[in-house]
């Protein structure tokens, strides 16, 4: 018998209504539904969540670390993209 590893899934948990799902970790599972079970049993044992997403890790398209300079460095000297040049009028609470 050949030993075959179950596929890897990434697990995202929403901790409270209104917050967004955040990456919690990963699990191995034989299929999608079992991945959801395993994520529940592995990552929500201490009431960490109200919603779970699981995604096959191989379906995640990730940026290449070798391209970091082309991807991210051009933004570094564009300070004008931060909304820090505005005077906030008195009395504006939610900006």
């Amino acid at each position: 018998m050949t030993e075959k590893e179950w596929p890897l899934y990434e697990v995202f948990i929403r901790s409270r209504a209104g917050l967004s799902h955040r990456h919690a970790g990963s699990v191995h599972a034989p299929d999608d539904q079992m991945a959801l079970d395993h994520a529940r049993d592995t990552y929500t044992r201490r009431t960490e969540g109200v919603s779970i997403w699981v995604v096959p890790s191989e379906r995640i398209v990730a940026s290449d670390p070798k391209e970091t300079s082309a991807f991210f460095e051009p933004a570094e000297d564009k300070v004008y993209r931060h909304p820090t040049f505005y005077e906030i009028p008195d009395g504006v609470e939610n900006l």
């Binding site: 191995h28 299929d31 539904q33 079992m34 079970d37 395993h38 049993d41 592995t42």
Partner: protein
């Protein structure tokens, strides 16, 4: 049998089922085939242990003899335990454990559901907590049963054999005795005939989805509810009770 005696006997059965199944599952800790299943098994075992504690505590109060949950769990002899024979069957291989778990929990979920409506507020309260746990167990365990049955040739054959082997212990769940009748009539508790029909419907559904064959009608073993256990039980009890028997009252 007085009403209080029947309630005490019934609560002890619930407690013993939960404790003995927890003990069987604890035997599997660190022996599951995958890390994720390891966590699921240990979580489920702790769910049962928690249920057992609530039922034992209540049983101790009903008895009124000052026995604690630990006294009831660790200081009674084998023939005083009233758990179903199905529950004490050895773990066997992964498929055996899954089938044992499934056949019992498919019954237990309906038993608890009926108990949430019964006239004993304490039992109803414990049942309402426990049923949430058991509904999830059932989801997970039936996922496994379906995957093993509808998996490879080998997994199909082996889990079919597990089902055939354990089937003879399922009849006991639905055999009414004095205690069951008293609970049904005095507390508006579970009607075992109605539960048998629900259980059969659910089990047939999952077995068919798992592409397995329903075992044929056959002779059914019973006795656990009256304290007559199978030969495996003494070993289980010996291991479970060793510490409290050798060092009574030990705590940490």
């Amino acid at each position: 049998m007085s009403k209080n005696d029947a309630v005490l006997a019934y609560v002890l059965r619930l407690a013993d089922n939960a404790l003995i199944l927890a003990q069987r599952m604890v035997e599997l800790v660190a022996a599951e085939p995958e890390l994720e299943e390891e966590l699921a098994n240990a979580n489920f075992a702790l769910d049962f242990l928690g249920q057992a504690r609530m039922f034992y505590t209540y049983a101790g109060e009903l008895e009124g003899a000052g026995r604690s949950e630990d006294d009831l769990a660790f200081m009674r002899d084998g023939n005083e335990f009233r758990n179903l024979l199905l529950i004490e069957q050895p773990n066997g291989h992964f498929g055996d454990s899954i089938v044992r778990q499934y056949l019992f929990e498919a019954f237990y979920v309906h038993q608890l559901d009926a108990l949430t409506q019964c006239n004993d507020p304490r039992i109803a309260e414990i049942a309402a907590r426990a049923i949430k746990e058991v509904r999830y167990h059932l989801r997970h365990i039936s996922h496994w049963l379906i995957r093993l049955g509808d998996g490879t040739d080998e997994s199909h054959q082996r889990v079919q054999a597990s089902l055939d082997e354990l089937w003879r212990f399922t009849g006991e769940m639905f055999v009414n005795d004095d205690v069951d009748v008293a609970i049904r009539d005095n507390l508006a508790g579970p009607d075992l005939e109605a539960i048998a029909a629900l259980w059969k419907r659910d089990v047939e559904g999952v077995i068919s989805e798992a592409t397995l064959q329903l075992p044929q009608e056959q002779w059914m073993a019973s006795g656990g509810k009256q304290g007559r256990h199978s030969e495996h039980f003494g070993f289980l009890i010996a291991e479970m009770q060793f510490l409290q028997r050798s060092y009574p009252g030990a705590t940490w």
